[in-house]
Symmetry: C2
Subunit: 69 residues, 2 copies
């Protein structure tokens, strides 16, 4: 499968899932599913959903610091 961490990093560094999906050359739904899968695999919520915005929460921020290296 496509690497979930790469997807996560790309999402964090994008302004939307749409933009991330373009960078990752995949569909928007897939990005949603990958993030959901990552959260489920780790059993950690990484983003808070506020409206249509995904806001990285402290857990997500911590993971991002680790994952980007």
């Amino acid at each position: 499968m496509m690497d979930l961490y790469e997807t996560f990093i790309t999402v964090v560094e994008s302004s939307s899932l749409s933009e991330a999906s373009r960078k990752l050359h995949t569909s928007q739904p897939n990005v949603t599913l990958r993030i959901q899968k990552l959260e489920k695999d780790l059993d950690i919520v990484l983003f808070d959903r506020e409206g249509k915005k995904l806001i990285l929460n402290p857990s997500g921020s911590k993971l991002y610091e680790q994952a980007k290296n």
Copy 2:
């Protein structure tokens, strides 16, 4: 998928696919399929089939030397 190299090493170190399948806690057909897949992935024949015996050939031997570490 189960690691193909682990399967390969186990087969090499066993006297038969049956024995290997027992060590690997899987079925005989699966071991056959994994070896076939490894050979196909690498595009290298690893064993010569003589009767019901699988005999490691030079290519297989070389791979085994690399893989066992």
